[in-house]
């Protein structure tokens, strides 16, 4: 493994949920420990199964893994960290300030923002604690600061610069301002991250076009803040041998080859490792020890033979579309983490509605502009538009500087500019663009995908705050106004659909998204489990194993999470173009069934 050659002290594994970064981090830790290095493994995965993998209860304290000499582990739960922060801040004032006031503050500190920063706050100590540097040769993190957090990381730089220059207090540091850590410690943590002799970043991806594009963006964002020493790991590649006798497996294999063949340039330059899809579940030390092996681990696979026929009869997307079409108009919002296929599903639903002669406006904020490709061909009743987060943000910044900044002196303008660099700005800018579009939903269908979760939640937070503010200003009387939040909360006007994959981490992420929506008074209307092997026909042993593990996950969606759900099969051909989108929506029969 290239990424394990001459490893520096800190290794960060990053990638979207479900790509296997925790497994790879665990396996890497085991391998380094086997080479007699002293290793600390840090998991911030809210669905951390590190303890389960090693058969030890770990939790938020450094715990020795007795089965692996030299290895200690620590689990940071971002939610618990955020709760601890709220308790620290509010504990001393409970009973001393009015209850309503305390409750109001608590709500303010319940956003995704606080959670991410609280987790980062726990991080900084690990990056800067001199005692840990003595105790451990390597510290491995199964996550890395990305997206939202990157921008926060950039802020302390601006912050300290601003303070050093004596220009006053750059204010929009959000919850960072309330955390107890020294500014010097944040700066040291950022320095450690940007120091290539100390830090290596491992980008974990699957061999999928959209995923690789997303990873390329992460790479560029992180490189821009100085994390230049990056490695790429392509996980779960379907072995060539598997593609011989099965049409679906052959199609997946060909697709993966194609995706890797057109690897984004910035990624192609990175040292790269490939890890084959394994025929066994990555549970237990023995499985981890063999994760990086070339062969498929035949003995382990044999020990876990598929017991039952993993085929599933589940509701199809067409069933959901029938219910949607019956309303004649409304707002349909696809939500979920990046890479679960929100854009494709939104496009499929739009095409299916338009095909029935219903007027549809499909709008997307997919930064990859993937939709333009997907919508290769048009229908008369379908309008497509795109909200580009970068463009919207720039426009918003300019507009605020021109209007609100106009009356300020130079110093005041600088302060406002600093605040406009805050992470909230993009969410607000995108939200404003959305709220312009969603007003149309009284007349026709408006179908939207949304950008990844952090965005979505903050958008909803912003709407919620706006709603409360308007209600407050109106003194609770005369509720004859409609905020976007109220539109989203009204099931007659809005259907929120959560998109996910039939895998543990994506489903946990979707459940946590649903919990946040519910906190905002929004009840998701349905879930769509996308790209499922369990409803596809295949005789490939590897894929059938995956199908078997999917059944449990889909069962959990059906019984625990979703009011109603649909399962969309993994297709042989990528659903690009109107014809294939209609197939995906179940409007026309799937042309290609695999031989079985």
């Amino acid at each position: 493994m290239n990424f394990l050659t001459n490893p520096p002290r800190f290794l960060f594994f990053t990638g979207k949920g479900g790509v296997g970064k925790t497994s790879i981090a665990c396996a890497a830790a085991v391998r380094l420990a086997a080479a007699e290095r002293r290793v600390l493994l840090v998991s911030t995965d809210p669905a951390s199964n590190v303890g389960q993998v090693f058969g030890v209860a770990i939790g938020n304290r450094i715990t020795s893994i007795t089965a692996v000499p030299g290895l200690d582990a620590l689990e940071i739960d971002p939610q618990a960290a955020a709760q601890a922060y709220r308790d620290r801040l509010l504990g001393p004032v409970r009973g001393r300030l009015p209850d309503a006031v305390v409750k109001g503050i608590e709500e303010q500190l319940s956003g995704a923002c606080t959670t991410e920063i609280a987790a980062f706050d726990e991080f900084t100590a690990l990056l800067t604690d001199a005692a840990l540097m003595v105790d451990y040769d390597h510290i491995l993190f199964d996550t890395a600061p990305t997206g939202h957090t990157i921008r926060l990381l950039q802020l302390p730089g601006a912050w300290s610069g601003f303070l050093d220059a004596g220009k006053g207090d750059a204010s929009c540091l959000g919850p960072l301002a309330g955390l107890e850590k020294q500014r010097a410690q944040y700066r040291a943590a950022v320095e450690a991250l940007a120091d290539s002799s100390r830090t290596r970043l491992v980008l974990v991806a699957r061999a999928q076009k959209a995923t690789l594009r997303e990873v390329a963006r992460t790479h560029e964002e992180l490189a821009a803040i100085g994390l230049t020493r990056q490695y790429l790991v392509i996980n779960g590649e379907l072995p060539t041998g598997e593609a011989k006798d099965d049409a679906l497996a052959a199609a997946i294999h060909a697709r993966e080859r194609a995706a890797l063949g057109e690897l984004p340039e910035t990624l192609a330059a990175l040292p790269c490792d490939h890890i084959a899809l394994k025929a066994y579940n990555l549970v237990g030390l023995e499985a981890l020890r063999h994760l990086f092996d070339e062969d498929g681990g035949g003995d382990l696979a044999a020990a876990q033979a598929v017991e039952s026929d993993p085929h599933l009869d589940a509701p199809a997307l067409a069933d959901l579309i029938n219910d949607i079409a019956a309303d004649g108009h409304g707002l349909i919002m696809l939500m979920g983490k990046g890479g679960v296929g929100k854009t494709t599903l939104a496009a499929a639903i739009s095409v299916a509605l338009a095909q029935r002669g219903l007027p549809v406006h499909l709008t997307t904020s997919d930064p990859a502009a993937h939709l333009a490709e997907t919508m290769d061909g048009t229908l008369p009743d379908l309008a497509v538009s795109r909200i580009d987060p970068q463009v919207e943000t720039e426009r918003y910044r300019k507009q605020i500087m021109a209007s609100k900044g106009a009356q300020l002196d130079e110093q005041g303008r600088k302060l406002l500019e600093e605040d406009l660099r805050s992470p909230c700005t993009e969410e607000i800018a995108v939200f404003r663009a959305f709220s312009r579009v969603i007003r149309e939903a009284g007349r026709r269908f408006v179908v939207m995908d949304t950008a990844p979760t952090g965005h979505t939640l903050l958008l909803l937070d912003a709407t919620g705050a706006y709603h409360r503010e308007v209600a407050r200003q109106m003194g609770g009387k005369g509720m004859n106004f409609t905020t976007p939040m109220m539109q989203l909360q009204d099931p007659k006007q809005t259907k929120v659909i959560i998109a996910t994959l039939a895998e543990t981490t994506p489903i946990l992420e979707a459940a946590s998204l649903q919990a946040d929506l519910r906190r905002a008074g929004i009840e998701p209307w349905a879930w769509i489990v996308n790209a499922s092997v369990a409803v596809a026909d295949t005789c490939s042993p590897l894929l059938r194993r995956r199908a078997a593990t999917e059944l449990r996950e889909i069962e959990a969606v059906a019984t625990h999470h979703a009011l109603r759900h649909a399962v969309v099969p993994l297709l042989q051909a990528e659903p690009v173009g109107v014809g294939r989108l209609l197939e995906l929506a179940g409007e026309v029969p799937l042309k290609t069934t695999t031989g079985a």
Binding site: L416, C424, E469
Partner: protein, 121 residues
């Protein structure tokens, strides 16, 4: 010199740009505070969402919160005495409390910004 303390409602930032509707008063006030600091004025801001203890530890502020609720914020104390509530002070208020003059080059802006009408100055 007078000590000016501003007790803000729960904000995520001092200019309020993080909200959906930006309040011009907040944007201007952030700039005014900055201006006052540059001119050596002793001025502190406390954000209810970040420094609730500062609110709880000050009897005047605590009583005010109990009586009027957080909707009545912001609250301004000058040398510990209640000076202004429910709205942000103008730049000229700050100058008056601190006993300093406004720089000449700002007067044109300030005239339209804060000294129109009878409410202040």
């Amino acid at each position: 010199m007078a000590n000016i303390q501003i007790f803000d409602p729960a904000l995520c930032c001092s200019t309020g740009v993080c909200g959906v509707a930006i309040d011009q008063a907040l944007v201007s006030f952030a700039a005014d505070v900055d201006w006052a600091k540059q001119n050596g004025v002793q001025i502190e801001r406390f954000n209810l969402a970040r420094q609730p203890l500062a609110f709880a530890n000050n009897e005047t502020v605590r009583d005010f919160l109990e009586r009027s609720g957080q909707e009545a914020l912001p609250l301004v104390l000058v040398d510990g005495q209640l000076a202004l509530a429910s709205r942000y002070p103008e730049r000229c208020d700050l100058a008056r409390w601190a006993g300093i003059a406004q720089p000449a080059k700002l007067e044109a802006v300030a005239a339209s910004d804060c000294c129109s009408g009878s409410r202040c100055c």
